[in-house]
């Protein structure tokens, strides 16, 4: 319950106002339905993003050469459960990808063919890193090691997932789109499958005329590839204590746009602030931007630009969307985007804790891959190749076990540890944590960690994003006013995501509705889709009501980091990203 402390802008932590949700009770189903009511599959993969589909792709490759094991997996050997209208619809990333894992997954595909397929946009030949000390100045600095990207490929994970979906379908997978997995089914301490979500409920959860209940999907192996922060993954972590002896997970929020531009960008760009961030520990804004050139198969010049901010900040008025819009007014960016046209917008949270925050990656009957498993190297802003690699390793672990007639997949953990995923994340395991003290205080220590390539011993701790006391600051005074042509407001941005959420769909967002203004403002500014609003007549200080326009939600997941919980919406709604 809220314990209002009579604050006048007095530092309130969202953790004091936890969302009304009980993961284990609501999202774990104890026991399967009867045989004739459920669906049985060999391997159920929850999440049709890069990691989940890589697992499906690899599994089917292995099964193609092993008729016996394939037979044993039954009529539906591999099923992928994806809540968006199509795979890739809810996927978003920068992205510059290290090529090796994708080359391993599809060895016959050349990089030129990646581009013809429309999910890759060119090899990185030139790159630059800048500091932006003011709104007008930019200073080029020598490229720090994590930002060295020569030889990597600019990709769109949204388009890549579509390609992987096609491959998986052609190879015999059942891709169940528009289907949310709302519960993990656990029997005798083991994950035996998942349950798909109901459809046709009204605003208050009541069944409507066309109500269709979900179905239990029984599987010998379940792979949780839900991305950030997985709904079932969260429940699994609590149920199987997967977070024990690990650092808590922390998150970052990225807001991205894709632009059609009048002249090609000749280099990969990263900027590390400070402007427009307030990097002192009082405000705690840590983040940076990327600007990537994309040349698509039609020969058009495009640019991907994004702003990432750690959700560790203390000023409630910090808004990743507005920071991106403001950042675009810097001459460095105007030079690139002016005269162009925005063709896409999106937002997504990502796990920033690195190695020490990764949960235990296996539990009886199930495995975690990709962002669900926290496998993102946020120093280098790289996670796509880890997703693919982890998906492949999961497939191999499951295949090996099932082939032997075993259902113990725990060898997966060591396999990840020994792979490039484990090794690369180990190297930067302590590099980000110092930044929780702010860029000025923490920067040097972070630098030392990076240069030493993780050889310094010890384990740096994280503290949870929602434990940060929030105050209503003045970051918002610096935001540009959207002009609708070069800079944009949240609502028109949500519009172009193709967000088609039913007007009377049930509310999938759990937050307390009456909280101190500091918390309400935190949510209002943080959310890139404008879901949270405060009534005009709410008091300036003290507790206020929160209006939740959940139909705007683009399911980025940020709310889960700062005092709320994103639960699974009805399958088939949300954004429809195509090139993000």
């Amino acid at each position: 319950m809220s314990s209002h402390n009579g604050s006048s802008n007095g530092k309130v932590a969202p953790a004091a106002y936890p969302p009304p949700v009980d993961s284990r009770k609501e999202f774990i189903k104890r026991g399967l339905d009867d045989e004739d009511e459920l669906i049985e599959v060999g391997v159920a993969i929850v999440g049709g993003g890069t990691a989940g589909l890589a697992c499906a792709n690899r599994l089917l490759q292995l099964l193609a050469d092993d008729a016996e094991t394939l037979e044993r997996l039954g009529e539906v050997p591999v099923a992928v459960i994806e809540k968006a209208k199509t795979c890739g619809g809810h996927n978003l990333s920068g992205a510059v990808m290290r090529p090796k894992p994708l080359e391993e997954l599809f060895p016959e595909l050349t990089r030129e063919q990646w581009r013809e397929q429309g999910f890759a946009f060119g090899e990185v030949k030139k790159e630059a890193v800048y500091l932006t000390p003011t709104s007008k100045l930019s200073v080029r600095i020598p490229t720090p090691p994590p930002f060295k990207n020569h030889g990597n490929e600019v990709v769109s994970v949204s388009a890549l997932a579509r390609y992987q979906q096609q491959q998986a379908e052609d190879a015999g997978a059942y891709i169940l789109t528009e289907t949310a997995a709302t519960q993990l089914v656990v029997e005798d301490g083991r994950v035996v499958g998942v349950r798909s979500g109901d459809k046709g409920r009204g605003k208050d959860g009541e069944p409507l005329g066309n109500f269709e209940p979900g179905t239990d999907i029984k599987a010998r192996a379940t792979v949780l590839a839900e991305g950030c922060w997985g709904h079932l993954t969260g429940a699994a972590i609590r149920e199987f204590d997967l977070g024990k002896d690990r650092e808590p997970q922390v998150w970052e929020l990225g807001v991205k746009e894709v632009w059609k531009v009048t002249k090609p960008l000749d280099r990969l760009i990263h900027t590390m602030g400070p402007w427009p961030l307030k990097i002192s520990s009082k405000y705690g804004q840590i983040g940076g931007t990327w600007i990537y050139p994309m040349k698509n198969a039609a020969g058009e010049d495009l640019v991907s630009i994004g702003f990432v901010v750690e959700l560790e900040y203390a000023d409630a008025t910090t808004s990743a969307h507005d920071l991106l819009q403001t950042f675009k007014t810097h001459p460095l960016v105007r030079e690139i985007l002016e005269g162009g046209e925005r063709i896409a917008w999106g937002a997504k949270a990502l796990p920033g804790g690195g190695y020490w925050s990764m949960p235990k990656l296996s539990m009886p009957g199930a495995l975690l891959v990709g962002d669900s498993g926290g496998m993102v190297d946020t120093m280098a802003l790289k996670g796509v190749h880890h997703c693919i690699k982890a998906g492949m390793i999961a497939a191999e672990s499951i295949y090996e076990s099932l082939k032997r007639g075993s259902q113990d997949f725990s060898a997966y953990e060591q396999a990840i540890e020994d792979s490039s995923v484990g090794k690369e994340l180990w190297e930067v395991r302590n590099a980000r944590q110092p930044l929780q003290k702010g860029l000025i205080l923490g920067g040097p220590l972070s630098g030392v960690q990076q240069i030493s390539k993780g050889k310094l011993p010890g384990r740096a701790d994280w503290h949870r994003n929602d434990e940060k006391p929030m105050f209503i600051g003045d970051t918002k005074d610096e935001y540009v006013k959207p002009d609708g042509k070069y800079t944009f407001d949240k609502l028109s941005s949500v519009f172009i995501t193709g967000n088609a959420t039913r007007d009377d769909a049930p509310n999938h967002i759990r937050v307390q509705k009456h909280v101190p203004r500091e918390i309400a403002e935190t949510w209002r500014w943080m959310c890139p889709a404008g879901v949270y609003e405060i009534p005009d007549d709410a008091p300036e200080h003290g507790d206020v009501d929160v209006i939740v326009n959940y139909t705007n939600c683009v399911q980025c997941g940020a709310i889960t980091a700062k005092g709320g919980r994103l639960t699974t919406p009805e399958g088939g709604d949300g954004p429809l990203y195509q090139i993000l």
């Binding site: 099923a79 209208k85 046709g200 409507l208 066309n210 088609a500 429809l576 195509q578």
Partner: protein, 263 residues
């Protein structure tokens, strides 16, 4: 009774549509979905079947489109159709409304349906017309904007929305009925139905299989020729009044409205 439901795969309505720069036509790549209005048609067929007033032997989903159109058929089957027919042929690509209706009618001739149902409009801009074209070729009565339908043994009692109110029309079978979205609330397919859809019979036919005269279909032979596309005329900037003296402001508004004959 045999019911055929005409379905169409259309670009997703929520995604911003764009023109293909080289052809000047709508870029139909990207997201595609079963036309939402067609789901109402399938639901109507299912309600007739489940209603029991008349025995329905089968519901057949029929579509004309490229390879990807099978998805619309799978969706139709997951919603209750017993089997599907896919007319897929280079010859029909680019057909306008009239040519498409002709091609679909030929495909339906083979099925000899008692009732043809379809959504009255589609998310890619077509509205109220295909049903009429198909009916003309099949020599069947047709009605569109139907929002209520009761079946008797050889006739339908339909209610349809017209601009001056609601009409009740008695229509003898066989007939072609285009339904509006107010007619029903389509069901959601169960996962079992979705997964079982691929196993239901899907008949792929060519133009020759259904005796389509190739000279009557396709972009080249279509009687309505889409010449080009351009941006709409830019709207002139409007006038802005700051209200200081409300009486004066209101006078100005009334004068403005009067000028344009809006009062």
């Amino acid at each position: 009774m045999k019911i055929c439901v005409l379905v169409k795969e259309v670009p997703d309505a929520a995604v911003e549509k764009k023109l293909n720069p080289s052809t000047g036509r709508m870029d139909r790549s990207g997201e595609k979905n079963l036309n939402p209005y067609d789901t109402h048609a399938i639901e109507a067929a299912m309600q007739i079947k489940e209603g029991g007033a008349v025995p329905v032997e089968e519901i057949v989903a029929v579509t004309m489109g490229p390879d990807s159109a099978v998805r619309a058929l799978h969706k139709a089957v997951s919603l209750g159709a017993d089997r599907s027919v896919h007319l897929s042929d280079e010859a029909v690509a680019g057909s306008d409304v009239a040519a498409t209706g002709y091609a679909l009618a030929q495909t339906l001739q083979r099925e000899k349906p008692d009732l043809v149902l379809l959504g009255q409009q589609s998310d890619d801009g077509e509205c109220y017309t295909i049903g009429a074209v198909v009916a003309e070729h099949l020599g069947m009565p047709s009605l569109t904007q139907v929002i209520k339908m009761d079946v008797e043994s050889d006739a339908l009692r339909c209610e349809r929305q017209a601009e001056y109110g609601y009409d009740t029309v008695q229509i003898k079978l066989p007939a072609v009925i285009s339904v509006g979205d107010a007619i029903n609330e389509p069901r959601y397919p169960s996962l079992k139905a979705i997964m079982g859809a691929k196993k239901k019979p899907l008949d792929s036919v060519t133009a020759a299989d259904v005796e389509i005269d190739a000279s009557k279909v396709g972009g080249e032979n279509s009687a309505a020729q889409w010449v080009s596309a351009k941006a709409p005329p830019a709207k002139a900037a409007g006038e802005i009044i700051e209200d200081e003296d409300t009486d004066e402001t209101v006078e100005k508004i009334v004068a403005w409205l009067d000028e344009r004959k809006l009062i």
